[in-house]
């Protein structure tokens, strides 16, 4: 069936389009206007903005740690309304089903869960399989695993480490690699309570720097399109700007993605010895084109922090709101779940909010910066519309700033920044950039051949309202949202890469598991049969 979206304002930065145009699609793909054929279905979308479906590059939506948060905090997600027909569990708050519905309603069609522990990959995929409509991807966490740390201690070859990385990513069915406080989780098991870039993991004799550099290199070597996704040391600590700057230097020009950098943009100025260092970080990012970042913006409200940085989460337990948390020492990283409330009247929280916005506004290239809140760590993904609105209006920001504690404004440059994102820049940051970052050739764009994942928003001055409720969303060419409501489910795919490697590593790993755990390594497999049709994989090509 040929469908036409007629007369909308198309914003498609990949193809340099920013103006009124018609979009045609058929059998789930965008097609060139077919000469001499009338569309079978025609939607008048004049007065609307037409973009590719948005892609969230970093959002904790599935897996054991996310599930622990659900069980920890029943009081935070009481449901209040019945669902529509055809959408089972779509109003069950914090459920996988609600996640799919809420993302779709905002015009998001692809979301990446960034922290899958190899030994818990099957669990993560089972959850992703129960997220309807949207396509999913994930990142595999390495960097606190004994096999890698032992290999580095023994001075093993880069080839061996590359084989290990490629095998682990393939076995866990993900889009690449994330490294979370490299060595820090293991050091915490050995009773260290802080862990910096050049500190040594006891017993292994390797530093954080060595660990992530080896993973960064391996990621490049095996041709995974997404560069190493790094959660740096010292998250959330005053003065950690030094860690961030040094980490960027350590990348030595090679591609690397830094996660939720707002949490690393802190100086020690002012009477509270806590200030925004976002300008320095933004300048560094502007000067290092090999670096991409997502912001991890803080939005005020109650939330829960979910992180595989178990050391950091342990340290934040004392500030939990309400006072409870889960600390899980996993086989490698593990994780911590700690509830928290960001308050506009709290000096530290207000600095965090301002620092996040400064990063968005001071990083010049929208292809280098992504719009996350590190859901749910800085705020839930449902705050993205408000975030977009803040980026698009200096006046709106000024109104919010009036409500901040007065001394905050002296410790941030936010009041002096007039930049306002255009819709084109929003589309760059939320469509074109993410597709490029993950190597998606047919997403985040609207030219012929691309997947017909399309979001249509009614033009209005209330930008948050515009992005909160898409007028139409098409997933693989099927209408799934009308006027901000999901009316039926479709089944999304799970995107993965399959980097090549020398199969000899498998024998070595088999022996390693036998010896260490007295268990067959295959117990941790993620066979497609286990997903029983709930998840369908789609492959993203690796670089040759």
């Amino acid at each position: 069936m040929l469908i036409r979206l007629r007369g909308g304002h198309v914003v498609d930065p990949v193809n340099g389009v920013d103006g009124v145009a018609d979009i045609y699609f058929e059998d789930g793909r965008i097609v060139a206007p077919p000469p001499g054929r009338e569309p079978d279905e025609d939607h008048d979308v004049s007065g609307h903005i037409v973009m590719a479906g948005a892609i969230d590059i970093h959002s904790h939506i599935a897996g054991g740690n996310v599930n622990s948060a659900r069980l920890l905090l029943p009081e935070m997600h009481r449901s209040i309304r019945a669902r529509l027909a055809g959408t089972p569990l779509s109003t069950a708050k914090w459920s996988t089903f609600e996640t799919g519905r809420l993302y779709a309603q905002m015009g998001f069609t692809t979301v990446v869960e960034p922290a899958v522990a190899p030994h818990h990959a099957l669990h993560a995929h089972l959850e992703l399989g129960d997220v309807p409509i949207i396509d999913k991807g994930a990142l595999t966490v390495l960097g606190n695993d004994d096999f890698l740390l032992g290999a580095l201690r023994e001075g093993e070859s880069e080839t061996a480490i590359a084989d290990y990385v490629a095998q682990t990513v393939e076995a866990t069915g993900t889009l690449g690699l994330k490294c979370i406080n490299p060595g820090g989780a293991d050091a915490f098991k050995q009773n260290m309570r802080a862990f910096g870039l050049d500190e040594i993991v006891p017993f292994y004799g390797v530093t954080s720097r060595q660990i992530f550099k080896s993973l960064q290199k391996a990621t490049q070597t095996v041709g995974i399109p997404h560069p190493l996704h790094l959660h740096m040391n010292n998250l959330g600590i005053a003065g950690n700007i030094e860690t961030a700057l040094a980490t960027i230097d350590a990348a030595e020009g090679l591609p690397m993605h830094l996660a939720h950098v707002q949490f690393y943009a802190y100086g020690v100025d002012g009477k509270n010895a806590f200030s925004s260092a976002a300008p320095a970080l933004a300048a560094k990012i502007n000067a290092n084109k090999n670096i991409t970042v997502d912001v991890g913006a803080v939005m005020f409200g109650d939330t829960v922090t979910i992180s595989s940085d178990v050391l950091r989460q342990f340290n934040s337990l004392s500030g939990a709101i309400p006072k409870k948390g889960v600390i899980f020492d996993g086989d490698a990283n593990g994780g911590g779940v700690v509830p928290y409330a960001y308050r506009i009247s709290n000096y530290y929280n207000a600095i965090q909010w301002a620092a996040g916005l400064e990063l968005f506004l001071l990083i010049d290239d929208p292809l280098q910066v992504f719009f996350t809140t590190d859901h749910p760590n800085g705020g839930p993904f449902t705050t993205y519309p408000e975030l977009f609105a803040l980026l698009m209006s200096a006046e709106l920001r000024a109104r919010w700033m009036e409500r901040l504690p007065a001394d905050v404004l002296e410790m941030t440059t936010l009041p002096s920044i007039n930049r306002e994102y255009s819709l084109y820049e929003i589309a760059l940051m939320s469509r074109a950039g993410p597709a490029r970052l993950y190597g998606f050739a047919d997403r985040g764009r609207l030219d012929a051949g691309s997947i017909a994942d399309i979001a249509v928003y009614k033009q209005q001055t209330d930008k948050a309202g515009m992005f909160r409720n898409a007028a139409y969303v098409f997933k693989d060419g099927e209408l799934v949202v009308r006027d901000g409501s999901v009316t039926r489910y479709t089944k999304g795919k799970t995107l993965r890469v399959r980097p090549g490697y020398d199969r000899a590593i498998e024998k070595r790993l088999d022996a390693y598991y036998d010896q260490l755990y007295g268990l067959s390594r295959s117990i941790f497999d993620v066979p497609e049969a286990a997903l029983a049709g709930r998840s369908r994989y789609a492959e993203v090509a690796c670089r040759k």
Partner: protein
């Protein structure tokens, strides 16, 4: 003469008499669809079975519970009120230089416990050390582990809460109400806990109550002030932990959740299976116990009950449909105690029996059209 008719092969019975699978599914669908507030209980199932069962409860606007919810909720109450420190049995195996075993019957709740924890071997991660093993409140003669010198702190079941409270107090340097001799023994244990590099407490909620688990976790929190200490919980029977996890991502809540209002509401008292049946609030039930055919906990249900269980577990009353044993008769995903993760168990003895999910799908396929999706 051996009965080999299709009827007998169908593995379905009504009030003890063999009926065809087709009739059984048809009947089951009628019973469940006719109910105002049906209960899906037992839930002794693999992940796919639990997914199907929870979606069924949601579609019918009923409630669901697991047969070992009491044990899951014992730990969960502590999580929800104070939080928890946990690790995997494998991490304990490779790293824990001290194991504090709590309560009796641990090998009953988890037969392979000592094979997995390998306490007789030295630690591997963080350096090689011999382990120290302290067992609080074992049954007489129970505290024997091959190749391990087990120190015991005696406590009967009734004494265990007091002993745990006293141990926690001594870890924190606070006084206890115990005798000087008993306190001295506890002091030695407290000292051992504090000097562990990476200690683990191992317990089975089935043998404890929430207050004891909370005391244990409170002590672990204190120990983490100066060293590393964490816990290894032993989960409930019949797939309890896997079902708990599945329930959490599907609904946000553990079992004992109802959908009467069209969205999930969790209430450990209101949606307890036995109470719902005995109070008459549930007017039909689907009882699932695919692992071992455990019978329902309620007395004399006078409501229609559909049972899914292994072939040997046919009920004298009501409708029974045989299903395979997960991971035994069919490939099944379940939560593995030994890895503390979801795993695929390959069938060791494949059988021509439906899976729990297939049986539920067959029932659901026979609902009349006026039941919306």
């Amino acid at each position: 003469m051996v009965e080999t008719s299709v009827e007998a092969m169908s593995n379905a019975t009504l009030d003890g008499k063999s009926i065809s699978s087709e009739d059984a599914y048809e009947q089951a669908a009628k019973i469940l669809q006719a109910a105002n507030f049906p209960l899906v209980a037992g839930l002794g199932a693999d992940v796919a079975g639990a997914q199907a069962a929870i979606l069924l409860a949601e579609r019918l606007r009923g409630a669901f519970d697991h047969l070992a919810s009491r044990d899951s909720l014992t730990d969960l109450e502590v999580v929800r009120s104070a939080g928890i420190f946990v690790t995997t049995p494998n991490e304990a195996r490779v790293r824990a230089d001290l194991a504090l075993l709590v309560g009796s019957g641990l090998t009953g709740y988890w037969p392979a416990i000592f094979e997995r924890l390998a306490l007789d071997k030295e630690t591997v991660h963080g350096g090689k050390t011999k382990r120290r093993v302290i067992w609080v409140g074992p049954k007489r003669g129970e505290a024997k582990i091959e190749g391990v010198e087990v120190e015991t702190i005696p406590a009967t079941e009734a004494e265990l809460p007091g002993v745990l409270a006293a141990l926690r107090a001594r870890v924190g340097g606070r006084p206890t109400a115990l005798s000087a001799a008993a306190t001295k023994k506890l002091d030695a244990a407290a000292e051992a806990l504090k000097s562990a590099r990476f200690g683990v407490a191992v317990w089975a909620a089935a043998g404890l109550d929430s207050l004891m688990v909370e005391m244990l976790q409170g002590m672990i929190t204190e120990l983490n002030g100066t060293t590393r200490f964490t816990g290894v919980p032993i989960g409930g029977r019949s797939g309890a932990t896997g079902v708990l996890q599945t329930s959490a991502w599907m609904t946000g809540f553990p079992p004992r959740t109802g959908f009467g209002r069209g969205y999930p509401e969790h209430d450990a008292w209101r949606f307890e299976a036995r109470r719902l049946v005995e109070s008459g609030e549930a007017d039909a039930a689907l009882w699932i116990s695919a692992y071992d055919g455990e019978p329902p906990p309620w007395e004399d249900a006078d409501i229609p009950v559909v049972t899914l269980g292994p072939p040997g577990a046919a009920t004298k009353r009501g409708l029974f449909i045989a299903v395979g044993k997960p991971g035994e008769n069919y490939d099944a995903v379940e939560f593995a105690q030994e890895t503390s993760s979801m795993v695929l168990r390959r069938a060791k003895a494949p059988a021509e029996l439906p899976t729990v999910a297939e049986a539920i799908a067959a029932i659901s396929a026979r609902f009349s059209e006026d039941l919306p999706c």
